[in-house]
Assembly symmetry: C2
Homo-oligomer: 257 residues x 2
């Protein structure tokens, strides 16, 4: 099974602490060695780092771990290949442009007999079920709202229906962001927490590292972290329910609870 | 003025030597401090590293300089902002998908009164003339060939006409690649060379570094390097002519000479 990690904040925040534990799941504390990727939104722009190596062997992961890129929306993924060979074009997150914004997507799970009709506006480059699902989602968004983005609630409704349709083909835990908001869909396994004042210490599950967030934050900071499995062992993570879609904005869930 | 660097090879090759000299033009030997980017194709996949810092201050550039990523098609760009603020979304190369392949594009120059009619299939995310030109190119490709890519010569003809139209608005030196081939258009300044057997030593213009390619290559290797200005001072660089479009494939120019 792949591992997902997402972050949505009200002020640009670095993900170094969460990534520290997360990257160990790419070949050390868990068996996902088939590539990885991470996308950082900075305003409308986006940096995407992809690698077909395991995170624990990847110089790019080492850079990400040490270089504090500040972002309000992050999506990361460690791959355990199910469909599609181990190759850069099959590494998540996938990126496309819609309505003059970049959209990033990562998926954990496996879809069987999933061959949606695509208009051709978005075509998969690789051969994963995941990229097909992403193209299907953006294709549907564009057909339903050809003149530009609708309000957030209307888009949420379309995405919720789409996720249910796709999840009928198998496991569909996923993260989707356009840099403004982050959507998280749970099929089998996805957890989140919100860090906000009063901040305290957090201790990683995957190695003996503790951070005292009260030393690194201001009282207004708010950060939602979403992960396949809890990354820390002394904080209150909430498990999403099956078929639950949650919209995170400014570090809190605003729709779908 | 921005700086462009491209590489097209018959076998995956690292660009460390050329990038060594090129990156110094981002703030040290030349005055281009407004961001940079580099894209490496690996098969159908692509890694894009972007930074709004100057290359000489960028940890990401340091990674690229030291981590030998092997690629058959590379496009790099150092930005001197003319239109569009200094921001990640305005850093080249720009990426989009067409016909199930990623396309990467970088531009050097400035276009005045350039507002092409766009269908909406490709919309700029940032606010540069360069990204508008890229969207215009892919938009036209898609409209002319809605069912998929035509043969290489037909696409070359459409791109040549497009480049001439766009260059009527100002300076339009650019590089475009889909991972199979690399197109280079010269408006004012673009040079290339082909390295092939018998290989010899090359010495950088921007610093006192020499590489003996005969030690690093096999007799079958062939690499075309394209750059705004020659990167080495002891090799025979060819200047492209105004309005010349050249298609590189497998390390040699195959069309447009």
């Amino acid at each position: 099974m792949c591992q997902l990690l997402g972050m949505n904040c009200n002020v640009p925040t670095d993900i170094c602490f969460s990534f520290e534990g997360f990257q160990l799941r790419g070949g050390l504390t868990d068996h996902h060695r088939d590539g990885w990727g991470i996308a950082f939104f900075e305003g409308r722009g986006c940096r995407v780092f992809l690698d077909s190596k395991a995170t624990i062997e990847s110089p790019v992961a080492e850079l990400v771990r040490r270089y504090p890129i500040h972002s309000t929306n992050v999506i990361a993924h460690i791959r355990k290949a199910t469909q599609g060979r181990i190759a850069l074009e099959n590494s998540h997150p996938f990126q496309r442009e819609l309505w003059g914004r970049y959209w990033l997507f990562a998926h954990n799970g496996n879809l069987e007999n999933y061959a949606p009709a695509l208009s051709g506006d978005y075509r998969p480059v690789g051969d994963t079920d995941s990229e097909r699902a992403f193209c299907h989602i953006l294709d549907t968004f564009r057909r339903e709202f050809p003149n530009g983005p609708p309000d957030e609630i209307a888009l949420f409704g379309v995405l919720k229906r789409l996720c249910q349709d796709i999840a009928a083909h198998g496991t569909f835990n996923c993260l989707l962001s356009n840099g403004d908001a982050l959507y998280a869909h749970c099929s089998t396994q996805l957890h989140y927490l919100v860090r906000q004042a009063p901040f305290s210490c957090a201790h990683l599950v995957d190695q003996d590292v503790t951070v005292d967030f009260s030393q690194l934050t201001t009282p207004e900071d708010r950060v939602a972290v979403i992960a396949t499995l809890p990354l820390t062992d002394n904080e209150a993570w909430t498990a999403l329910r099956t078929h639950q879609l949650v919209l995170f904005r400014d570090g809190v869930p605003v729709e779908g609870l």
